[in-house]
Amino acid sequence: MSNATGKSHPQLAAVFNQDEPRVDWHDETLWWIRQKRDVQAHKLPEWELLRETASQIKNNVLSNLSTYLEQFEANAINNGVIVHWAADAKEHNQIVHQLLQERGINRMVKSKSMLTEECHLNEYLKEQGIDVIDSDLGERIVQLANEPPSHIVLPCIHKKKEEIGDIFHEHLGSAKGESDPKILTETARQHLREVFLTRRAALTGVNFAIAETGEFVICTNEGNADMGAHLAEIHIASMGIEKIIPERKHLGVFLRLLTRSATGQPITTYSSHYKKPQEGTAIHIIIVDNGRSIQLGREDFRNSLKCIRCGACMNTCPVYRKSGGHSYHTAVAGPIGSILAPNLDMKKYADLPFASTLCGSCSNVCPVKIDIHDQLYKWRQVIVKEGYSPASKTIAMKAMAFTLSSPGLYRSGGKMGRLVFKYAPFAVNNGLNPWYKHREMPKAPEESFGEWYSKRKEGKQ
């Protein structure tokens, strides 16, 4: 459960929860996006068939991934693209660094790529003396604030416009106290235009990579990926091995699902298909494993690799909405992040599968039908079995097992509990009992079912 700050999800959530109006605002904003998703989904009578089809395509991908990866590589090379393979984050970062070094480039513009967040690319390149500017508006904001994104689609969803105004005043010279989103966006536009026009290297993520053609697709609303890539002499595209889809026509399924699920738009403004490099420029693709092939081998968890990173599971999650993305202390927050992260480091992320009510809303909205809440439940079992479960839970569970294994203890414990609830609720409703924290305890009945049943049997009732 250790991380940069050494704090677990409940501890970090407690910090976020100190500002109650902000929690309410965060909760409502994300729920509003969830509702926009519903409006779009309900407009399509074939929505459920689309989800099922997408899920089946991904099943096929995961069962033939090695073939598709080789096919994609061969076609990409045929298109004049250079393909690299990285076993882990370190190798990925080194490849990027080397590509820049070979050209004597020390400044790069980067559009949204959660993979590079996972690999901590920016920090690595900074250490090598390379300046990276994130060009997605939300990512630029959190970058200037020296924070990671708190949401994979909406990186600064936790920030108020006044705070963004302060950041822009300090770094980009906007007027003090200016918080109008239109004016702040225009400030960023002017600042980033200069960046696009002066950077010789651009890095982007990849939404879909098509085995059949060797092309890859990037989706943005801002146009920042294209502005960076088309103005640079080298375009580096980083992708996880699971981004592959078999054929171009399958985009006709995924592009219908992605943005409707993500932000409730029918499609992003730009869905850009990169097949061959522009004359005089180069495209390099880095195919990254970083633990994905291990996840593929975990039967209970391999479906998590179907994820198309829409963020719908976060927007709908009652725990995410009320605890904020940063409390997950991992690049991909929320329900999907909580089933991906333990694969990378079970000890460090042992707390995350417990950051869920298992209500199942995530699985219901997932456009590729990942059984997210089932996997969260399964991870809990694996984590406990492997001995990584959070300490407070282990003690409580042991006490519970001890009590439940002895009928005498169970009966006296139950009686004691009812008396405590009745006469001394403060004894359980206090800071020492984490379980009570956000729960209203029920009113204790006068007698237990067991007591009532014996009385009834004895004809007293």
Binding site: T185, L197, E299, R302
Partner: protein
């Protein structure tokens, strides 16, 4: 070599092959020829586009004359709109030289009614950066070029060869600041669509 290592690990861990699903049902369910232009116009307008139905290129010129001051840099990828800088004449210039373009006018042969997306390949863009770097973008498309959904759109694209292609569904936009929609993030501040009827 990481390539071999990754492929071997994937091969070892991938499970028994499952077949690809049939996409025909989805195509059939969504196939319709009803009011595609009308549906497109509704969706595109909601997405921040200005949609005009025009009879000919002259009508487009009239509208553009009203919207854009004389003397601004306008680049046209359409032969009939010849009073502007013709894109294929400036293809050798560097992408950066279009930073001061006020308007770019390009053609599309494929529009999608369900989401307002217009398909443009590199051939129609002439230069990849043009539809992104310009302050404003206009696209000219025929009334018969619309399909109901992305399913039919990819059926039409088929296995066409292109270096680069993009679906563009509106002006560049962002809602990253408190979910307030702002038009004009990094790319064009407006998208005007001229449907030739």
């Amino acid at each position: 070599m990481s390539r071999e290592k990754i492929l071997a690990a994937v091969k070892k861990n991938q499970f028994t092959s499952t077949a690809l699903p049939d996409l025909e049902i989805l195509s059939a369910l969504t196939a319709t020829s009803d009011n595609l232009v009308q549906q497109y116009t509704g969706v595109a307008s909601a997405g921040g586009c200005f949609v005009y139905e025009v009879n000919d290129l002259e009508a487009i010129k009239d509208i553009l004359r009203k919207e854009f001051k004389p003397g601004v840099k306008i680049i046209s990828g359409i032969q009939g709109l010849d009073e502007y800088t013709y894109a294929s004449n400036v293809m050798q210039e560097s992408s950066h030289s279009f930073a001061d373009a006020e308007l770019t006018i390009l053609a599309s042969n494929l529009g999608v009614a369900e989401n307002g997306a217009l398909w443009l390949t590199e051939n129609q863009m002439n230069i990849r950066i043009l539809p992104f770097i310009s302050q404003h973008l206009a696209v000219v498309i025929g009334k018969d070029a619309f399909v109901p959904t992305m399913a039919q759109a990819y059926a039409q694209i088929g296995n066409a060869d292109y270096g680069y292609g993009a679906f563009i569904s509106g002006p560049s936009k962002t809602a990253d600041i408190e979910q307030s929609l702002v038009i004009g993030a990094h790319g064009p501040r407006s998208l005007s669509v001229f449907i030739l009827i």
